[in-house]
């Protein structure tokens, strides 16, 4: 017998996928030490929010969520460009991208 959760693909199912994806990105941000991989996990978190917005948009019958996804994609592109430029500038100064070696504020 199929459980009710598996029977109907509704708004909740999409929101669960979005929450799990967001949590995976969050775990990656906490766990990884490579700045570039941390940045990729941040992108995963942004993408998870877009899934939730698109699902809300479809199940409410409005277009607003989808338009918001457009804006999120634009902001994410700008964010990646600036973030990677900062990482390159950091690498030029410190010659490393590992987070545990970037601790000059601590000492």
């Amino acid at each position: 017998m199929i459980t009710p959760v598996l029977a109907v693909i509704g708004l909740n199912t999409y929101l669960h996928v979005a929450a799990l994806l967001f949590a995976l990105g969050f775990i990656g941000v906490l766990l990884r030490k490579n700045t570039l991989v941390v940045f990729m996990c941040l992108e995963l978190m942004l993408i998870a929010s877009t899934i939730a917005l698109a699902a809300f948009s479809k199940f409410n019958g409005t277009l607003d969520g989808n338009v918001f996804v457009f804006f999120i994609l634009t902001i994410a592109a700008a964010e990646v460009a600036v973030g990677l430029a900062i990482i390159v500038a950091l690498f030029r100064q410190r010659h490393t991208v590992q987070l545990e070696e970037l601790n000059h504020l601590k000492h």
Binding site: L11, V17, V67, A78
Partner: protein, 168 residues
């Protein structure tokens, strides 16, 4: 059929996202990010947002991940040099992620959502354009300015400045 497609794409998205997190090699992580994005694009198609799926693939898989790969190959240290995760970090991040899921899900289950999908037609390109150029005209302009500012910022950041002293 749509159910099967949903589970396929959801599994693809989540499994590849997990592989992004645990992969030792940054280049492989970027590749799995592309596959994960393809899964998300499939979910968008199932949500009647095919336009967003195309934009996602063009912007993310086309531009963003290519930029990531470029920077990884420009900077990254030797692959496989990653130290194993510390036990405390692993436990803390897993507990943190689990708490996040539980919190968000409890929020979902308390909220009042519409029970069934409202039967509406899939949005057309014209509908997107109408929204973007009427209701959201000001945000579109602001976002355009922000892209310009980001471009200027990147140019300034990647200029070579005279370094006063090497701290490291």
């Amino acid at each position: 059929m749509a159910d099967l497609l949903f589970y396929t794409f959801a599994f693809l998205t989540l499994a590849c996202a997990a592989l992004v997190v645990i992969n030792k090699n940054a280049v492989n992580a970027a590749m799995f990010l592309i596959v994960s994005l393809v899964g998300v694009a499939g979910l968008f198609v199932l949500l009647d947002a095919a336009l967003l799926a195309f934009v996602l693939l063009l912007v993310y898989a086309g531009a963003v991940v290519a930029l990531f790969l470029f920077i990884i190959m420009l900077l990254d240290t030797t692959p496989g040099a990653m130290k194993p995760f510390k036990a405390a970090t692993m436990i803390a991040s897993t507990v943190g992620g689990a708490l996040l899921v539980v919190g968000v899900l409890s929020l979902y289950h308390r909220a009042q959502f519409p029970a069934a999908a409202a039967p509406v037609a899939a949005p057309t390109l014209k509908a997107y354009a109408e929204q973007l150029f009427t209701t959201y005209l000001l945000p579109v302009q602001v976002v355009g300015f922000m892209l310009l500012i980001a471009m200027l910022g990147v140019i300034v950041l990647s200029k070579k400045f005279a370094v006063p002293e090497d701290v490291s």
